[in-house]
């Protein structure tokens, strides 16, 4: 049930604003895994990259009266999860406010390397 020390889990977050009901779960699962001593990396890819936009993270809710997504992202970060976002060729981020909780904007190559190296890879 609990991860051996330093077990690494990569969570690919592909869900985005078109499916808000799916957007909180990856961060909550990351929180639980980090609490169980796993080394967790969340990687925003595809439509999931939209979740790193401050306006989206502050307003998107998985359930109507629930907490905004940023709440779940912060919990995951507090628990120790790392948050990366895919650098998408051709997408200009100039002038777009991103959340402070984002650790790094990363390349597809770095993602591929993590997929090969990590013990567990989930796509949510």
């Amino acid at each position: 049930m609990h991860a051996p020390a330093n077990q690494r889990v990569l969570i690919l977050v592909a869900s985005g604003p078109s499916t808000p009901v799916r957007c909180a779960a990856p961060f909550h699962i990351a929180t639980l895994l980090a609490c169980m001593d796993a080394e967790v990396t969340l990687y925003l890819t595809g439509e999931g990259t939209q979740l790193a936009r401050r306006d989206v993270a502050e307003s998107l809710r998985a359930v109507a009266d629930g907490e905004p997504l940023l709440h779940f992202i912060r919990n995951a970060r507090l628990a120790g999860a790392r948050l990366l976002m895919c650098r998408q060729p051709g997408v200009d981020l100039t002038g777009i406010a991103l959340i402070d909780e984002l650790d790094e904007i990363s390349s597809g190559g770095e993602l591929a390397q993590m997929i090969l190296e990590y013990e567990r890879v989930l796509t949510l």
């Binding site: 639980l32 609490c35 001593d37």
Partner: protein
């Protein structure tokens, strides 16, 4: 003993930084549970998922995960030892922690590596109360607004 309306039995030892109480058993094992202060910070607890019995738990590593309103946190052990038992009743009724944190809501029992050598690291009585009060001060604990703080606690 009472602090801000929260009860702290003077028969127990405390780990203020972990918001846990400790009780030395006759067989030299130690039972752990969340203090009333920990309960106030978490709010309603929805689940407690312990590690497996038999595992060695290092000091400051988690012996389980507590899920509460809108968040989760690792229940970190204040001592190194083997996990001897977990409170199975909490799987079905995690609310026992809130309802009876010093009794039926106990969380885990550990066999410490060298309990006599570390026993005095965990204060009792007025010394414990002063340490818990200091912890509350460092946490900026406001008894009138506990649920907001639960989400800031880690």
């Amino acid at each position: 003993m009472n602090l801000h309306g929260l009860e702290f039995p003077d028969t127990l030892r405390y780990a203020p930084e972990h918001s846990l109480w400790l009780r030395e058993e006759d067989d030299s094992s130690v039972t752990l549970g969340l203090t009333a202060y920990g309960c106030a910070l978490y709010g309603q607890i929805f689940a407690f998922t312990p590690k497996r019995v038999g595992m060695r738990i290092e000091r400051d590593r988690g012996f389980g995960v507590v899920e509460f309103a809108k968040a989760a946190a690792s229940a970190r052990s204040p001592l190194t030892g083997e996990l001897l038992a977990v409170n199975e009743a909490l799987r079905e009724r995690p609310s026992l922690i809130n309802r009876d944190c010093y009794g039926e809501g106990w969380m885990a029992r550990l066999q410490p590596l060298d309990w006599p050598a570390i026993r005095d690291q965990f204060p009792q009585g007025e010394t414990a109360l002063a340490a818990i009060a200091e912890r509350m001060r460092l946490d900026n604990f406001d008894p009138a607004n506990v649920h907001v703080q639960a989400l800031q606690w880690k």
